[in-house]
Point group: C2
Chain length 216, copies 2
Amino acid sequence: MTKRAKPGLAAPGTKERILAASLRLFNEHGYDAVTTARISEEVGISEGNLWYHFRTKRDLVRAHQLALFVLIDRRLAIQSTPETVLEAYALFNRMVFEEVWTYQFLYRDQAEYGRTSPELEERVHRIYEMTTTMLVRFFRHMIKAGQLDMPDDELTALADNVWMVIRYWPSFLRETRRVVKLDKAALNAGIRHHFALFNTHLTPAARTFFAKKAYA
Amino acid sequence: MTKRAKPGLAAPGTKERILAASLRLFNEHGYDAVTTARISEEVGISEGNLWYHFRTKRDLVRAHQLALFVLIDRRLAIQSTPETVLEAYALFNRMVFEEVWTYQFLYRDQAEYGRTSPELEERVHRIYEMTTTMLVRFFRHMIKAGQLDMPDDELTALADNVWMVIRYWPSFLRETRRVVKLDKAALNAGIRHHFALFNTHLTPAARTFFAKKAYA
DNA sequence: GTCTATATTCAGATAGAC
DNA sequence: GTCTATCTGAATATAGAC
């Protein structure tokens, strides 16, 4: 979006079409299994043209990564107080589930496309930490609001488990239910599923709230 | 083990050394990233020799798969009654954690080495189902024994979550803690971690039992 | 059973015309 | 910007001598 939308008088959004097609193919078949020949075929252009827009296959990954980071920054910026925590958590939850679905290949095939740079590696590591830290903060606010009943020393483990269920949900669905494409039912199933991690510790009111707001 | 231990007068266990080296390399670096050249170098033999023992790279995978299935059959055969469920669960738990560690590449790189056959694919699917079914049975026995307090309609979701934490534990450790090699501390951390999924629903006695028996 | 040398395949990437 | 033609390199696999 920030990158040239309509440059001069050429390109009917070829770059964007390459990005869309490659994202879909990478997610579905895996980074290594998708050849650049396959991508260009899917877009309906020649391979040479693809190389004009992205000088290496890694450059393609890089572009997707930057788009993912925008989503991540947005969901990490969500504010919460004990008064607003239920709303905030429902929002955060939906965003992060969509994010791991949309960019599942980036999460899943890291070993295949490899570490791009030390700074990037460091950034990914920070994201994981910030995510679980944020989850603990959410839970503390829920406890303060009287919506969650759980000992404080269990919260870190709970946050890790919540993040695991979210982050591996696409892989799990694929393996157990053979679901490959994003679809609203599968997304809601994941959200409902992850609430099972602390459902019994929520007040009936909070449970009803999430059932309505988070996976309606 | 069932396959010729010492054939005639040759082979100082070359086949076994290939299996051991390839398993280690696959687990550490991923199936695709490990070349046959690398494997033979690691074993200290020529590449031609490797092809003598395994006619394709897939044959290597197949051998590891068969070994994994032996482990799986063993852990699926564990019996349990309400009287013995705590012991049985501790045993099952340790076995399954070790299994996903030892053969992590088979769980993780399925997309890379591909589906071998429809029957195999079906078998893998059945294993997943039998595992979660078995977990639900364990939980029911714990409830009957008065060691676990949880509504029956939460058990399926709990079983799924438990299986997720176990199955993805090696990947999670690698991503968050950068742990690559199997090690007793990491294994115990996983077991302890997975108990956080239902710890607060266990009696103090059961909690103490697992703390001593399952991750001592 | 083990080696060396060679073949095959194919993905990622370049050059240059249009 | 887009195409066609071509190159390069690496990985799986084979052939045949020892």
